[in-house]
Symmetry: C2
Subunit: 373 residues, 2 copies
């Protein structure tokens, strides 16, 4: 708990060491067939801007810290893709998990490793596949959070005003009347509530969505691991003498897979008592689904969205088309569809039923069509 | 005129010389994007049988005549495709039109050229892009027609019982009570009537569709050209001394383009008085549209048709999917659509509105996307 925080908090000159840790190991498949198991969405130019989401995250991070203080933690399978996407990144800034054990072990590993070089640093932990619309506002909120975390034993998250009772997010109940500095103690953190709970949260007006962006000192987060996820940190702390050495990979290969497969939200944030939230107004989407992408991008007068060219729509409404490599899509008579045209797969699906794509992917797997996944 | 034909006509031993002339110069684009200007539908395996329509036509022709009596007339632009599709065909069996002047000049040229070698032959003229379902019945009807044409000055067409007032066909009015040999004098040949006329024709029960398959002696068809399309035949007859020589290409290049651009139907069949028809029952489609292809192929219990694999349909009905090169198509929630997945184009269109694709193609041309046509 961080009672007694200073009233009327104002950002001051940056005297702490600030780092950014970008999490780029996710295997999100909800943008299938644009995203694949071998090329998840952080490596895609899903918005049609000419830059992958990872590169956008990296470039945004450079507004917070100098480039040599940006680190990426990813699955070893994606290390080459990260290098290809960010050729300017030094090789030892890419941290490789040898297995998929969810975000808690990933963050514990990266934090321990960073602490060997930057023991007093504050770390901004950023997912690699989100959209931020107003980057200036984002920078202001992030700097405020980093400064707060540099001066308090606090786990800070950036919170998003919820717009629907989404059951895929963590919900942060905060005490909006408690302070006037824009940084609020969190009463309760609830990861992925059921739909009725989510509806209550939304109606109460006291909840924000957890954006998945965390700000904390390495000390605070590692203390929290000690307290709430000791089994993970105990395993990984044994590597403290090998991080940033040639022996690291072998250590990780031997021990990392044994860590508990759990998210940072369940392992730490639901349990910790010193969580704080900054309500963020910078326009955010975690781009979890084609529908969320549709909601995020500007549509034409008929509600259609074309990502990449060429696309010709006739008598279509509310339809999102994502093509690739200059393939022409000609569609007519579709209302509220998602069309994704890849080199080897074409998907044509009702926008509001995209959650069913997952089952179709399972069918594909069972019927021997793994190569398309 | 062929009055006084023998009653109770029976096929006799084949004493005439029979040829097959396959017309493979069409640039049909109604199967776009599967068919292209550089690769029209006769070169496609549009049915998913493993054989192009041209090869199917060629193999069917071998049931009528020996392989060395099968000739192809095509546009010079398609000569290499014909060779690639029918590598067993001798080079001098491919007749090349240097320009697109429709079917009358094409048939006049091929007939004149064939007459220099086979002056007394009967020629079966076959489009290269039709479906014949019952080939045995087709062979019987074709042989009957060829024998009749070998013994009469008659222009014979195979007629199809109309199933709808289609305005894209020629209609053949015949005197069904006139003879009992199954070969009927044609009262009137009407190419592409308007819709009201087509409805009247259909209601009368006295009309058949012209299948576009013609059977005549070279003498009879060239006499008909002399009589009804003299300007065409006068130009091309000047080449009689160069056909089948090295000078032919140059002659054609110099003179063929000047021939009248007109179909054999308008030039000869609407005008001639010795047209006969054999009502054919062999199951026919000219595959003019995706809809006609849909009507022709067997559908699954939901009315869906998959041409080539892999295709996964979920909650789709009455939908035709044509994919290529093993591309996966996954579609959901589509009723009565055509989906065509090519390497560079994907088309998703309501089946009953496919006539509008032509206008879309024009738009593509205007907007600088000719490469997709």
């Amino acid at each position: 708990m961080s009672n007694g925080q200073p009233k009327g908090y104002q950002p001051t000159a940056n005297s702490e060491q600030h780092l950014v840790l970008i999490m780029a190991g996710g295997a999100g498949t909800r943008f299938w067939p644009a995203s694949r198991e071998v090329k998840p969405k952080q490596f895609l130019d899903i918005l049609g801007t000419g830059k992958s989401l990872l590169r956008q995250t990296y470039e945004r991070s450079k507004k917070l810290v100098s480039a040599d203080l940006i680190f990426i933690v990813t699955n070893v399978a994606y290390a080459e893709r990260v290098k290809a996407e960010l050729p300017e990144l030094k090789a030892d800034h890419i941290f490789c998990e040898p297995s998929r054990n969810n975000t808690a072990p990933s963050i514990a590993y990266a934090s321990l490793k960073l602490q060997t070089k930057y023991p007093d640093a504050v770390c901004f932990v950023a997912p690699s596949d989100h959209i931020i619309q107003d980057e200036d506002m984002f920078v202001r909120d992030a700097q405020k959070a980093m400064h707060y975390a540099g001066t308090h034993d606090a786990l800070v998250t950036l919170g998003i005003s919820p717009t629907r009772p989404d059951t895929g997010y963590g919900y942060v109940q905060y005490e909006s009347a408690r302070t006037d500095d824009g940084i609020y103690p969190v009463v309760r953190f609830t990861e992925k509530p059921d739909i009725n709970t989510a509806k209550k949260f939304l109606a109460s007006g006291e909840y924000l969505w957890n954006s998945g962006m965390f700000i904390w000192s390495l000390k605070s987060v590692l203390q929290a691991f000690d307290k709430y996820a000791g089994s993970i940190i105990d395993i990984l702390r044994k590597g403290n003498n090998v991080y940033f050495t040639e022996a690291e990979a072998q250590f990780l290969q031997a021990h990392y897979p044994a860590t508990e497969k759990i998210s940072i939200d369940f392992a730490i944030l639901e349990r910790a008592t010193n969580v704080h939230v900054i309500p963020a107004g910078f326009g955010w989407s975690d781009l979890g689904t084609w529908l969320s992408l549709y909601d995020h991008l500007p549509a034409d007068e008929k509600g259609n969205i074309r990502i990449h060219d060429p696309v010709m729509l006739d008598n279509c409404e509310g339809t999102l088309v994502h093509t690739t490599d200059g393939k022409l899509v000609v569609a007519s008579g579709l209302h509220d569809f998602v069309i994704v045209c890849e080199n080897d797969v074409v998907l044509i699906f009702p926008k509001d039923r995209e959650q069913e794509i997952k089952a179709l992917r399972e069918e594909l797997k069972k019927s021997g069509h793994e190569k398309f996944l």
